[in-house]
Amino acid sequence: MLEIKNLCFAVKEGETPLDIINDVSITVPDGKFIVITGPNGGGKSTLARLIMGLERPTSGKILYNGTDITDMSVTERAKLGIGYAFQQPPRFKGLTVRKILSIAAGKTLSEKESCAYLSRVGLCSAEYLKRELDSSLSGGEMKRIEIATLMARKPELAIFDEPEAGIDLWSFSMLVETFKQMQKEASRTTVIISHQERIMSLADEMIVIADGKVKSKGSGKDMLPQLMCEFSPCCGIKMPID
């Protein structure tokens, strides 16, 4: 279980501190499929980065399975079973797709095993294994490899930061199927930052983050129609947000 308690993160803009995350408290139970959504610039990605340890909070606590991980390094959190797929994965000259999948898995993967992960994100596998993670790959290919990497890692808690960004429609359908399978796995907790209705429709729980705060949260079943309504001006239902 992941517990986020009164988490704050501020950056300095000149002399004045600017709140990016402002007193956020969330509990993510084991085995759930959680979707975090909300307007751009609202703090979703920062929250995900704080959970993985890529940013350090100004105040507040993060507990994972009862252990305070607030001051732990990224490596320590990874070893505890937290995984993270970057919104914009970095490129590496010389590092091959097969190598990064093996690093993620913590063992040398066979060609067949590596291919299986790539197939799940719609990449025709064998030809990709020797490719380097450099600028010869498109943004969409990098994103799909990033998702495959997190699958090979098999973390207890997987965090995906906008996995759909930069992915074409055909591959997106395949991705939704992959996430559907993940949603069924009770042993795995998944937190996805997304704006996509088809991903949101898989959510056990949804959290809306805006202006650095939790604006609303609830079950996916209840929240999704309300959110869709917000985006559709002709809808007569009263808006739940604000």
Partner: protein, 304 residues
């Protein structure tokens, strides 16, 4: 063979035992063993050094000519000539390993000249490596001259990863009609090491092409200077790419140069120097690696 000899041979030539095919092993300035084959003849030149003649049409054979220096204070200069016959397809593995446990400078300078006949294909691998607990310097200054005739292909891989205090590398290549050259250079320097690599590539023949890829990592207080030059004297294509990772207090200069003396010459260069991106380290940390291990994986991949 002694343990140190075996280790050096493993580092510079990937050899675990006496190689298959033609070979000459040179240790501390003397030949330790030599074998010619039906198609590949190795002889000593009167003025010193070796002459290696590969018969036309020789396919899938290899020549290993490693040099190892295990005594402190050995200084040598060798001149080796390679004649690669027409229509042949061979691998030549050279390289020098110095183990210096004393306080005197050990130095290996060499001039390798290659004459690659029409339609031949040569793959040349040269690795330089130094080790030893002594204070004596380990110096290597390799010069390479390549003449590539019509339709011949030459692939060169030159590697210096560890332990060489000072190195001045000079490579000169001349390409005939439709000849093709690829050079991949991989260098890593640390401590107070210095390396300079100059390359002059003359694309003389119509339809000739060259690709020069130089990747380097500079650590600690080391210094590196790269000056690859491609000169297009005919309708030709060339691409020079210099890429360096800079760390600590290292100093790297990269000066790719291109020149065209023919209106159908197409020559491109690109050069980049930068430190390891913080996001790359973080990405690998999210996969459970420590920052130190992540750095190693990034460098190993880059110099692969």
């Amino acid at each position: 063979m002694e343990k140190i000899d075996k280790e050096l041979l493993q580092q510079v030539a990937g050899l675990h035992e006496i190689p298959v095919g033609a070979y000459n092993i040179r240790k501390n300035g003397k030949s330790e063993g030599r074998k010619s084959t039906e198609n590949i003849e190795i002889t000593s030149k009167e003025e010193g050094g070796l002459e290696i003649r590969i018969k036309p049409g020789t396919k899938n054979e290899s020549v290993h000519i490693p040099v190892i220096i295990t005594e402190t204070g050995v200084q040598e200069m060798v001149y080796n000539d390679f004649y690669v016959g027409e229509n042949s397809d061979v691998l030549i593995v050279a390289g020098c390993g110095i183990h210096n446990s004393g306080d005197k400078t050990s130095k290996h300078d060499g001039l390798h000249r290659f004459f690659i006949g029409k339609n031949a294909h040569l793959r040349y691998v040269e690795k330089h490596y130094g080790e030893g607990e002594g204070t004596g310097e380990r110096i290597m200054n390799p010069s390479t001259e390549v003449t590539i005739e019509e339709n011949a292909v030459c692939e060169m891989e030159m590697v210096q990863i560890k332990g060489v205090n000072s190195s001045k590398r000079k490579t000169e290549a001349r390409l005939g009609k439709n000849a093709k050259l690829t050079v991949t250079e991989r260098l890593m320097t640390h401590g107070k090491q210095f390396v300079q690599s100059d390359m002059d590539i003359y694309l003389d023949g119509e339809g000739s092409s060259a690709q020069i890829i130089s990747r380097s990592v500079g650590k600690d207080d080391s210094k590196q200077v790269f000056n690859p030059v491609a000169i297009g004297n005919n309708a030709c294509r060339a691409h020079i790419q210099c890429d360096s990772i800079i760390m600590d207090n290292a100093n790297i200069r990269s000066i790719p140069e291109i020149a065209a003396n023919h209106r159908d010459a197409q020559i491109v260069h690109e050069a980049a120097i930068g430190r390891i991106n913080g996001d790359q380290i973080l990405k690998l940390q999210t996969l459970g690696l420590t920052p130190e291990k992540a750095e190693k994986v990034i460098i190993d991949g880059f110099l692969r």
